[in-house]
Point group: C2
Chain length 295, copies 2
């Protein structure tokens, strides 16, 4: 997977799709994410750090499930090919936890940023406790209660997407409301997947605007409602992608819907945020922090 | 949000739901995730590190969008309350990038694990380049092409969930197949959300087993098919949650379906993995690494 970083890596843990690499525009440096598990932690931190370097061009390589010395040896061989190919020392973000594997990784001809040694060793001192050095712990399902909660929340979000079902709204932690394409569905799914939170979502549609009130189904749940709004201009862009040159996507219609939706939310006294310049992650964390954790 | 860590934190970036805290079972230490953005990077790394300490009980606090000196001051006040409450020095995982804000955070009475100073400073030397120290870069949407790709992939996964639509299977990067409840839907959504990959999923059902062939709709896309299987015992448990005491959930029926599904996949020559002990993240990364990136 190749990607260039200017002006910034968006999306934290989400790399440019390995299926659609962007052409590099200058000297390229290899970056390896080495992990005994999925590599998601290494990638997440790596991206957050690399995005701080404007104009940096990197080719990313995910080396996941490196959970034996033999696999570390393979990884080192691959990493060592980089410098002759690029003429630049590669950068390695590692979350290996096994001391012997880690020591072997450090023989690679690379700049190694070793996440666990950097933090686990000082934490052992602070906590007065040895760490287990057990591999592959981050994304396993041994804590099956939390895991089950996430899976249930995903099923809940799907069953209660776009007002499909009102049968179990009482079980929702939050019900997102807003006009079509304001970001409700991805936010509901992210809250479920990442935090195990049951989020339903319900569209605000022209019938609601004509009636001048939120959907009656939602009345018993007003304390759970959180609104997503969006600038009419951005909404028109997003809708145009989906249905070009439709009334649905026209700026006039988007202006009307957004204005009406905000009026209904104001009347009902529910809180909302604008998703215009926010990512799914930012919307989800805002809902979590400013709404769910405050109640 | 409170959580206990034995025997392990599952789920990497996914903390125990703040809405359903587990009761602590011993001395509790406060852990703060401080970020100028969502805090997802700090949480992801923090969890990966803390899971290495067996039996550790922590109460987690997410301090997101700490993007001004005033907010850092608030954060420091909150962190400083911990030691008198707990009698133990709190642990802070920080991804603050602004040097002045970071310096102020370091005045807190806490053990501070500062992700950016640990890695950005050495990278500046390696790359011969100053970092931008721009706050809130990780999860913003300035790289709107990647962001748009993720949103489209989520919409694609929803439209092509559970064989709902075959209209655009040609646009799928991968089509997951397997019996009901083998993990296809959450994996498709995770691939979309995290990696911007368009994943469809298609169930294998009794009609397919009787006919002894994969659904005809999938025939043109055999090279895109990847199977998810599961142990019959685990499948029966998962289905029991959904429909207790049904034929659907019976062990005999689960054995039959899994055996037949694996037979069909073998006949068609498609690869599969067992999801029995794997998390969504592990399944998704395996599909990515062993299938999508190899093609």
């Amino acid at each position: 997977m190749t990607s260039t970083l200017p002006p910034s890596f968006a999306l934290g843990a989400a790399p440019a799709s390995p299926l659609a690499p962007a052409p590099p525009r200058g000297p390229v440096r290899d970056v390896y994410f080495v992990s005994d598990g999925t590599g998601i932690t290494a990638e997440t931190l790596g991206h957050s750090v690399l995005v701080q370097f404007e104009g940096l061009h990197v080719q990313q390589h995910r080396l996941s499930f490196v959970d034996s010395l033999a696999k570390v040896q393979d990884a080192v061989l691959r990493i060592n090919e980089s410098i002759s190919r690029r003429g630049l020392r590669p950068i390695v973000f590692s979350t290996l936890v096994d001391p012997a594997m880690n020591a072997h990784l450090h023989t690679a001809n690379a700049m190694i940023l070793d996440l666990f040694s950097s933090f686990v060793a000082p934490l052992e001192l602070e906590l007065g406790q040895r760490s287990t050095h057990l591999v592959g712990r981050s994304h396993n399902i041994s804590d099956s209660e939390n895991y089950q909660q996430r899976i249930e929340a995903i099923n809940f979000a799907l069953a209660h997407d776009d007002g499909q079902s009102a049968s179990e709204l009482a079980r929702a932690a939050v019900i997102l409301v807003g006009v079509s394409r304001s970001g409700k569905t991805p936010t509901s799914l992210y809250l479920a997947m990442q935090y195990g939170i049951k989020a339903a979502n319900y569209p605000l549609i022209p019938e609601d605007f004509e009636r001048g009130a939120l959907p009656g189904t939602l009345a018993p749940f007003r304390h759970k409602l959180f609104g997503l709004s969006i600038s009419p201009e951005r909404l028109a862009e997003v809708r145009f992608e989906r249905r070009p040159n439709s009334r649905y996507a026209s700026l006039a219609n988007c202006r009307y819907e957004v204005e009406q939706a905000e009026r209904l939310m104001r009347l009902a006294g529910i809180r909302w945020l604008s998703t215009t310049t926010k990512s799914i992650e930012e919307i989800a964390v805002t809902v979590l922090q400013d709404f769910l954790e405050e109640r």
